[in-house]
Symmetry: C2
Subunit: 432 residues, 2 copies
Amino acid sequence: MARLIGMHTHDVRFPTSRTLDGSDAMNPDPDYSAAYLRLVTDAGDGLEGHGFVFTIGRGNDVQVAALRALEGFVVGREVEATLADLGGVWRELVHDSQLRWLGPEKGVMHMAVGAVVNALWDLRAKRAGQPLWRLLASLSPEEIVGLVDFRYLSDALTREEALEILRRAEPGRAEREGRLLAEGYPAYTTTPGWLGYDDEKLARLCREAVVEGFSQIKLKVGGDLVDDTRRLGIAREAVGPGVRIAVDANQRWDVAEAIRWIEALRPFDLAWVEEPTSPDDVLGHAAIARAVAPVPVATGEHAANRVVFKQFLQAEALSVVQLDATRVAGVNENVAILLLAAKFGVRVCPHAGGVGLCEAVQHLAMFDFLAVSGSVEERMIEFVDHLHEHFVTPVDVRHGRYHPPLAPGAGTEMHPQSIEEYTQTPDQCAAG
Amino acid sequence: MARLIGMHTHDVRFPTSRTLDGSDAMNPDPDYSAAYLRLVTDAGDGLEGHGFVFTIGRGNDVQVAALRALEGFVVGREVEATLADLGGVWRELVHDSQLRWLGPEKGVMHMAVGAVVNALWDLRAKRAGQPLWRLLASLSPEEIVGLVDFRYLSDALTREEALEILRRAEPGRAEREGRLLAEGYPAYTTTPGWLGYDDEKLARLCREAVVEGFSQIKLKVGGDLVDDTRRLGIAREAVGPGVRIAVDANQRWDVAEAIRWIEALRPFDLAWVEEPTSPDDVLGHAAIARAVAPVPVATGEHAANRVVFKQFLQAEALSVVQLDATRVAGVNENVAILLLAAKFGVRVCPHAGGVGLCEAVQHLAMFDFLAVSGSVEERMIEFVDHLHEHFVTPVDVRHGRYHPPLAPGAGTEMHPQSIEEYTQTPDQCAAG
């Protein structure tokens, strides 16, 4: 009986701050990084499970330490039994009474659980010879709800309601898979909009986005209103009237300031306003959403867990759910978030970019289309065109659409030479 | 000019799980621990700044790794200038753009900032020759609001409103300090109520609490309703009708279950119900509070930051604010939370127990009495009688009251021999 015999961790950092890729109002100089892990078995099939937490540099070592704290929960387990009960494994990791104190269910420790869970899904998908999106969509409604922990959700979504949502999506699944394979899943691009780019580069990248077939772009805002107005004008002129423009404030504002700023930008016909304030502020987002309607409010990449998403939906505080592949506790919790969004009838437009987030999150959006919401209406996955070359199965984005990966796995595997080249020597061990 | 020349960290763990001290419905076997740090200067005065994050065992090493990630922000600084601008230092640590990604403002990284901030306050108070409560109360309203970051708070509390609250509390401060020194600050005890204790021990400890002068005790509930009912009956009989009994569910319930359970326990005249559900669930607590009124709802020991407290208050979701000395980013953020509570007219009854939490948090409650709310009406600090012997300035709790510490510092300094005896050898460095 094969067992999990090793968890190897790597502190991988890319020096992106040199080019200001990824610069926004709150993150002026990120170094896109991954606290990375590989699960090894003795099955003799050469298959490993890979997962990671995306960070933006400093503290990636802390995130690696959190991964290591989970080693004892994973190494030594039987492979088959573990992969057959990922709902149970999720509960065991998230609800460990001692580790739970460090969150609970938020921040470094919760994201570490997510990386382990995602690595287990990567391994399961590889062993099944399926891309994760197809593996998930092939599960029965009962198997899918078995992945979800309904603790703290039952006032908004019960197991029975989740089953009902999944059963409603069963008819037409094969037809939708055909459509997905033929046409891909819609994407939008954030590549033109980083704050660190000058006007000329902004205009050029906007024009390129149109040529590449994107029907929506996104601009970072929130640094300076005069700059934002000028940049939005440049972008609107470059893309023309038919392409949507979303803006992203990266948590820069308080409530009243957000409302004033968005009012000032309203003439540019905003597709949505993203992260207007603290990602913890459900009531603040609700106040902003009421004031700026009908401009949609979007958030989620920093929403700590399903309980926070539940409240955003209950409070009608957002109309675009931007789940993230590595912020919450992995695939299982994102399945819960997809079900919550479906229950409340709110569209999901996943956050991506960073390191490997596009590769990972596309599986969740495609699963949602096949088995949960059954829709791509006004839905898009974020796309940012960097660091894909480090992944074994890089995204295939053409004509403004993600074309589904067919290789087995969850998309989370980095090339060994990339891991080696960009791994930092640990320095957190120089104890006092 | 003296500088901070070292930050030494220690992974300190006490084997409390052997005695089931601290056992509750979510935490059956905690090993009370501290991710501990000492700041050393070259001032030649022998004074160090001590701070820690309380954890319950596994993961204490992750918390230590997070402390170490902050070393570069502290070591090398000028002592005087740093301690004179702890508002600025707080902002620098909390808003570091890269580390912020790991929260933001929550979990392991945020608590690590809190430990560093608290250690700086400990050093500042020692250099001033004052206990922290008196040092804080001696600051002007302008100096106090300078400690607070109003980002994300301004829809509920502005700088001007905070100043107004502080100025209103200036008259009578000397009289209140006299009262505090003479009478102490009210306490309640959780010592009798751990779930792991048998009925005989429960009854005995309840009777002892009355003899010791406590007018409120707290029982852990949420494991089993039949047990809870029996244990509450035993406790009520042991303490008599004049002593209040609060119950603490430690996040055990969903919303509907919480309401049902509290209804069933209502005949026992509950002083409050604590942590009925997820500490992230503002709207859930609000629903519970409406349904179980007039039973007060209490929470806070796991509330991640001031933005979460703000919403609990805005939503009328709690009537007892249970701030914690090491959950948020230290003294500064707790000053913000005290000001929020005062603005909304909600009483503060700090969470304590654990390792050193009583020693640390009493300073905040006493500062609140002198300089913020000006009241001890229905206010109490939690007291649990263990592990105090490890601290240089252990709490002085007599006749059901905390008597204010007079030794300089923030109460956070552990005896060197305790640190040495209970420090674990780091194992997080056995990298993959």
